[in-house]
Amino acid sequence: MAKQVKIKIDGKEIQAEEGRNLVEVAKENGIFIPSLCYYEHIDPPLGTCRVCTCELNGKPVPACMQKVKQGMDVKVNTPVLNDTRKAIVEMMFAEGNHFCPACEKSGDCDLQHMGYEMGVSVSRFPHIFKDRLVDFNPKRMVIEHNRCVKCRRCIEEVLTSDGQQVFSFFNRGNETIVAIDYEQEARLSQEQALHAMQICPTGAILVRGASFGRPFGGRRFDLRSQNPESKKPAPAPQPQKGGKKGKPKKKVIATISLAGCFGCHMSMLDIDLGFMDLIDLVEFNKSPINDIKEFTQKCDIGLVEGGCCNSENIEVLREFRKKCKVLVAVGECAIWGGLPAMRNLVPLEECLEEAYLNSMTTEPGEHIVPYHEDLPKILDKVYPINEIVEIDYFIPGCPPNAEHIWKAVKNLLWGEQYSILYSEFKYD
C-alpha cells in the first residue's frame, strides 16, 4: 500500500495516499474543485483549460497537475480564486459560440455545468463572435468548431487502432483549432467514434445519427450541483439598495422585448399566483403586458428581453436606461445575443440575401431587400444589451426560470434575501 500523507485543503486536514491526484482526493473529502479538461486516466493531465486553478503553498497552480505530497497546503475557495476560475469559464463562453438552447449536448455539457456551478450569468468579456466552421466532411462525425474549448481530450484519447492521431491542434494563438484527419477518422469504428463524442466536454464532436434523433445524454448536470458544500449553488447577486419595512409605496416596472421571442415575457407570466401578489405591490408602466407604449414616469426597474438587432432596439434601450433606475437583462438574448446572434457569424449582406432573395419561400422574381426610411435599420450584428448601455443585473436562461425572475425582482425592489436553486439556474 502506498504511503499515507497529511495535507490541508481550505484548512481541513486530510489524509490521503501519496501521489494521488489532488482533484480526486479533494472530491473524496467533500471539497469540489471545478475542472473541465481533466479526465481521470489521461496521464500526465492535460492542463489546458486552467479552470481548476487553486493555490498551493501560496502559489496559483492548476489542481489537476498536483500529486498529493506530505504537507501540501491547498486553498480552493477564496474570493480571488473563485473569481479567477469563474473568469476562465466566462472566457470560454466569450471565445466560442455556445448557443445552449440549440445544442445537442445541453444538460450534459461540462462547460455549461461549470457555468452553473460558478453562477456565471453573464461573461465579463465581450463575445468574440468569430465565424467557425461546422465540418461535415468526416465520415462518421460532425465537428462543431463553434463549441470546441480546445481541451485536448480528443487529441490524446482518440486514436486509431494502430495508434494514429485523429485530432491535432492546428495553427496557434487565437487561431488555434482542433483539426481532424478525415482519412484516420474514416478508420475509426463506430464505437471509437461514439467514445470521442462522449469524452468531448462540449458538443463539438457529434456522431451522425447518434445525437439528434435520440438524445445521447441523461442531462446529468441539470438538477444537482456536484459541489457538496454548496447549499446555494448560484451565488446571490449583490443586494441592491433595499427598501424600508412597512407598507411600501407601489414600485413601477417597465418591460420590453427587443430582439427576442417574447419567451421571457411568457416566463414572467409563469410566476402564476405570484402575479396577484405582484399587482398589489407594483404598477406597470411601459410594457407589452399592459400595452402602454410610452414612458409616463421614471421607473424603479426595467426588465429587458432580447438583444439589439436594429436601430429601433438601440433607441428603445437607451430610453430604458434613462428612465429606469435599475436595468435587468432577462434571458440569453439580452445577455449576449442568444439565438438571434447566430447571424453574427455570417455577414449581414449574406443573411438578408438568403432571407429575402434566395430562400425557398421567396416569390419568384423577387429582388428587393426591404429598405424604407420608416423601417428600423438592421445592425451589422446582434448586440448584447450591455454593449449598448450599462446593465445592473443579469438573469440567464432561455427562457429564465419564472422563480428566478420573481426572486430577483423581489430582491431588487425590496432587498429581500433570496437564493437561486441550482435547478433554477439554466442557460436553456
Binding site: P44, G47, T48, C49, R50, V51, P60, P62, M65, T84, A87, I88, M91, M92, A94, E95, F125, P126, I128, V149, K150, R152, T160, D162, G163, Q164, Q165, V166, F167, S168, F169, F170, R172, G173, N174, T176, A179, D181, E183, Q184, S311, I314, R321, K322, P347, L348, E349, L352, I368, Y371, K377, I378, L379, D380, Y383, N386, E387, I388, V389, E390
Partner: protein, 579 residues
Amino acid sequence: MQANLQAHQRAHPDLLDCLWSYQNRHGYIRDEDVAQCAAQRGISEVELEGVISFYHFFHRKPAGRFTIYLNNSIVSEFNGFQRVKEAFERETGTAFGGVDPSGQFGLFETACIGLSDQEPAALINFHPFTNLTTLKVKHIIAELKKGVPVEEICDEVADNIRYTPGEGRTLFLRDYFPGSAVAKLRGLTPEQVIDEMNRSKLSGRGGAFFPTGLKWGLCRQQESSPKYVVCNADEGEPGTFKDRVLMNTMPGLVLEGMIIAGYAIGASVGILYLRAEYTWMKGKLEKAIEQFYRMNLLGLNAAGIEGFNFDIRLQLGAGAYVVGEETAMLNSLEGKRGESRVKQYFPVERGYLNQPTVVNNVETLCAAARIMELGADFFLKLGLPESPGTKLISVSGDCHLPGIYEIEWGMKLEELLELCQAQSPYFIQVSGPSGECASMAEKDRVLSNDGLRCGGALMVFSHHRDILQILINFADFFKEESCGVCTPCRAGNFIIRRKLEKVRLGLARQSDYDEIRQWGRIMEMSSRCGLGKTATNSLVKALSAFPEYFAEKIQGEEDRLNKEFNMERAIAEYEKFRS
C-alpha cells in the same frame, strides 16, 4: 516502455530539419511532401500539419522565390516600418501576406528578428538587410530582379558594442582564445565544476534568474542517462539581441559553455537551438563546431579529458517566440508543436526525450565558460555582493547609441540611459514586452538580480512617442505568439487587444482600466507558461506609472451608456440596400 508508446507520443528529433529541407527545396511544403513525411514516420497527416502550422516560417503555399520577412516590432514601427513596408509593396507589386503573380516575391511581416539596433530590418531568404529606407528597398528589389544573388547584396550585421566596464572588470566582451575555458576542466571533477558555479552565484541570464550551479547539480544527481545540454539560442523577446552579438563575435565561447555544462552534469550530447531568424549565423557556428572537433575539444575524450565524450549539434528553429520557453523548446527539439509542457517534471528530471536535460541560455553558458576561465573569484569581484557579475543589455529605441552594453550589476537606470545618450527618455521598457515598463520616476532604480531585473533588453522611448501605440504593438505580439493551448493566454490576449482598441478610440472609462488590471491578474494567475503570465505586465504597470496619460484618454460615466457602440458603423452594411 519506449516500444509501447503510441505513434503520436513518439519524438521525431529530425522532423524540423526534414521540414526545412522540403521548404528550402520548393519554397514551401507541398501536399506530397506532407504525405511522404507522415508516411515515413508512421504518423497521421493531421499531426504533421499541426506541427507545420505552429511555426510561422513554414509555408504550405508558395512563398516566393525571394521570401521577405519585414520586422514589425515597435522599434521598427517607430523607425519607419510603414514607409519601408509600402516601398516593398510598390517595388514588388504585391501586398504583405502574399506572393506576386510571377511567384518571385513573397512579403510577410514577422516579430522581432534580433536587429533592434539597426531597424527597420528585414530578412530576405534569411539573409539580413538592416537600416532600411525607401531608397534602399528600391535598390534591393531592382538588384534581385536583375538576378544578383541575395547573399551578395545583404548587409554585414554590425555588432554595435558600445560599452564594457573598465579595465579588468569585463567578463564577456574581452579577448577570447578558443579552448582556454575548457582547458581549466582538466584535473577538476564534475562536482568541483558545479561547486565553482555555486560559489560564483551565477544565475540564469535568460530572464528567469535560476541559480545555474543548482540547476546543474540537480541534473547531475539524476540517475537516468543519457543526459543532454540544450543551449537556448532562441532570443525572441523583442528588443533583445545580446546573444546574437555573443555568437557573432565569439561563437566558440558558447560552445565551451556547453562542454563545461556537459562535463558537469555527465552529458554526452549538446544541442544548440538556434532561432531561424539567425540562420545567417548558422554557417559561422557550424564552422566553430568543426574547428572544435579539429582541436579535439569535442568528440571522443573531449577537451583532453579521458572518458568524456561530448558532441554538439545545431538545431534550427522555425519561427515561434514561445519556443524560447524551455519546455516548449524541448517539444520543438522533439519535432513537436512548440507548446510549453505541463509542469509535472523539471527538465533536469525529464527533459529532452524524457531524459535529464539542462537548458541554459547563450549568455549563461558564456558566463559559465568565463567563470571557468577566469575563476569564480574574478566573477564575484564584479557587480554587487548579492548579485555579482556583469550583464549584457541590448539597448534600442530613441537613443543615439543603440547596441550592446556590458554593465556591472548595480548600475542605475539613469546611468545606462546617459551612456546610450537617450533622447528625452519617457517610457522605458525593461526586458522586452514581457518585462516591465518604467517611467523616469524610477531612474534611480538599480539594475540587478534583485532590483530592476533586466533579462537583456532595454527599449527607450522618448516624449513624443505614444504609449498606447507601444502597448498595442506588444498586445499584437502576444496575441500572435500565444501557443493557443491554455484558455487564459489564448483568449485573454485577444480580449485584451480588443480592450486596447476601445482605449485607442477614446471610448474607455475608468471601469475599463479596472478591468484591464483585473484581467491581467487572471492571466497571470492561471496561464500555463510565462508567455501568458507576463503578457499584461507592462500594460498593467503602465496604468499606474503613467496615470496622467491614461486619465486623459477616458470618458466620464454620467449617462451610463456604452460609448463603444457606434450606430453609424453598425448600420453601414445595411445602408447598402438603400436603392
